[in-house]
């Protein structure tokens, strides 16, 4: 034990003015650093400390990362698939198509004649003839009513022309074309078929909403799970927080390590999610290519781009920070010295 009675050494040197040529701030023993330097130092300290704590508990850290990784990977994979579908939909030439039903008396030769004449027009790309016999047979096959059709005395269907307008024409030219086609001799009825297009676009919209909704739910779940993890971390360090508050650590000082912990958990989860999405997509790539080949498309499944991967890690980090923010806001206030 030291000599208790002597003047206390650690107070020596107090209030000593800086000597000539001495930089006050850099002098050993002068005191705390400049507030900005201190702020940066505290951030570095908190970042390193919380990373250190995570690394020293590898199992629970890995579990947290997995939970976040899975919660992020699922909507991310769906988003990548959705963007593939949207891109694929763009490549499909979606010609609005006219179906022209001819008079019942029109023969197949006359029908071909009308078709050839129509193809001369600049606003028409292609005209194909659907003859009544084939049309009836197809109808029978599609509906399963072959026996009923065989029992018919005569074919009730007329010959049909399928008219594809040129890709470049606008809506008003389309109306003009529709008028022209209606007034063509031999044409009984014109059906401008846009319904399938509307169905297709609505389906895409539905899919898009579904993916966004699922993604939001997963993300909110991830925030809550991480928030709970942080609540437990706060509880585990209650004694330390109380002591720090008692000896002059402010709310920000106490909060900082937990914010960094959330950030690291989020970034780690995001990185894991990148890996999961890449694995998932590589599993899907080959069957998807085969499926598309069956539809005569040489489309290749587009994977996660580098930018998208970065965004995923960034989203992970932001989510981590966000849930740490809400967890510390709710729970740190309750940890006060008694």
């Amino acid at each position: 034990m030291g000599d208790w009675s002597v003047a206390v050494g650690i107070y020596e040197g107090r209030n000593v003015p800086a000597g000539p040529g001495m930089n006050n701030a850099r002098r050993v023993g002068v005191g705390p650093r400049h507030p900005i330097v201190r702020w940066v130092y505290h951030h570095r300290q908190a970042a390193a400390d919380s990373l250190h704590k995570l690394v020293f508990e590898p199992i629970s850290t890995l579990l947290t990362w997995m939970v976040l990784g899975i919660a992020l990977a699922l909507p991310a994979t769906l988003l990548v698939l959705l963007s593939n579908v949207l891109a694929l939909a763009d490549t499909i030439d979606v010609p609005a198509r006219f179906s022209l039903f001819l008079n019942e008396l029109t023969t197949l030769e006359q029908a071909s004649d009308i078709a050839r004449r129509m193809e001369q027009r600049v606003d028409i790309a292609q005209v194909s003839v659907l003859d009544r016999v084939t049309a009836l047979a197809d109808f029978g096959v599609q509906t399963g009513l072959e026996s009923l059709i065989e029992s018919l005395d005569a074919n009730p269907l007329p010959h049909t022309l399928l008219v594809e307008p040129a890709a470049h024409i606008n809506a008003s030219r389309m109306d003009e074309l529709a008028d022209a086609l209606t007034n063509t001799p031999g044409v009984a009825n014109v059906i401008f078929d846009t319904q399938w297009l509307a169905r297709f676009e609505t389906s895409l919209l539905l899919l898009q909403r579904l993916v966004i909704g699922l993604g939001l739910m997963m993300v909110i779940g991830a925030i809550l799970i991480l928030g709970n993890t942080l609540r437990l971390a706060i509880e585990a360090r209650r004694a330390e927080i109380v002591v720090i508050k008692l000896i002059g650590g402010g709310d920000a000082f106490v909060r900082r390590p937990f914010l960094y912990m959330g950030l690291w958990c989020g970034v780690g989860g995001g990185a894991l999610a990148i890996g999961l999405v890449i694995i998932f997509l590589s599993l899907l790539a080959s069957p998807a290519a085969t499926l598309l080949a069956l539809y005569n498309s040489d489309w290749q499944l587009q994977g996660l781009s580098f930018i998208a991967a970065l965004q995923l890690a960034l989203v992970g980090g932001s989510l981590g920070l966000l849930s740490a923010w809400q967890a510390t806001t709710i729970h740190l206030r309750r940890v006060e010295p008694k």
């Binding site: 034990m1 705390p32 002591v243 508050k245 008692l246 709310d251």
Partner: protein, 221 residues
């Protein structure tokens, strides 16, 4: 300087502190005594802003404490060194890191931290134990670690709540002379203690509380 001006603190149904007015000068050493429940703890808690007065005005270093906002409480507390009866040490780190904590909060440089922590530990006679975990230390040693932590950042005001509560008379006397040594270099020292035999030997002002009222050692205002 600490000025209590008609300070009162009322909890739900009783007054812990009633109408106390007193001044403690910078560089002074005072004892705060009274039976348990007399208001000693509340007195100290008001100083630390762990509680706020319900009436009157409390000035610390010419600053009205009611003006200290929640965000500024940390900075405010850094003017104090506090020694707790139950030590409040952290058992997940070494003696050195416990003592270094106030310096980290205040943002001292590493070189400076090492120098000051060693000086403080040397002064309480525990330099050899700096790498030990405080849990393996005796009660008296833990109290000295607490004192080292309280003085390491060189606060202007040192507050101790029953610092000798669990110690034998000889250790208690040693702890008290340590506080006197700090006082001799200009630190204000406020010690709450019910060990009248010990504190009356030490010829410092004794502030006595009874049932929340000031009954002795009021001093000027």
């Amino acid at each position: 300087m600490i000025v209590f001006d008609r300070v009162g603190k009322r909890f739900d149904n009783h007054d812990a502190i009633r109408d106390i007015s007193l001044t403690i000068d910078s560089g002074e050493m005072v004892f705060l005594t009274g039976h348990s429940g007399a208001g000693k703890s509340t007195f100290l808690r008001l100083l630390m802003l762990l509680e706020r007065p319900t009436s009157g005005c409390l000035m610390v270093n010419h600053r009205d404490t009611s003006r200290v906002k929640r965000r500024a409480i940390g900075t405010y507390r850094r003017d104090f060194g506090i020694v707790f009866q139950d030590h409040q040490l952290l058992f997940d780190r070494t003696v050195f890191d416990n003592v270094a904590l106030p310096l980290h909060i205040a943002g001292f440089e590493m070189r400076d931290v090492n120098r000051r922590v060693r000086a403080a530990l040397d002064k309480v006679g525990l330099l050899q134990r700096e790498r030990a975990n405080p849990a393996v230390l005796s009660g008296g040693e833990q109290q000295r670690v607490g004192i080292a932590r309280a003085v390491v950042a060189r606060p202007k005001i040192l507050i101790a709540d029953e610092p000798t509560g669990n110690l034998d008379p000889q250790l208690s006397a040693e702890i008290m002379s340590l506080f006197e040594a700090f006082n001799q270099v200009g630190v204000m020292v406020v010690i709450a203690s019910h060990d009248l035999a010990l504190i009356s030997r030490l010829r410092h002002r004794i502030i006595t509380l009874n049932n929340g009222r000031l009954v002795g050692g009021g001093g000027h205002l």
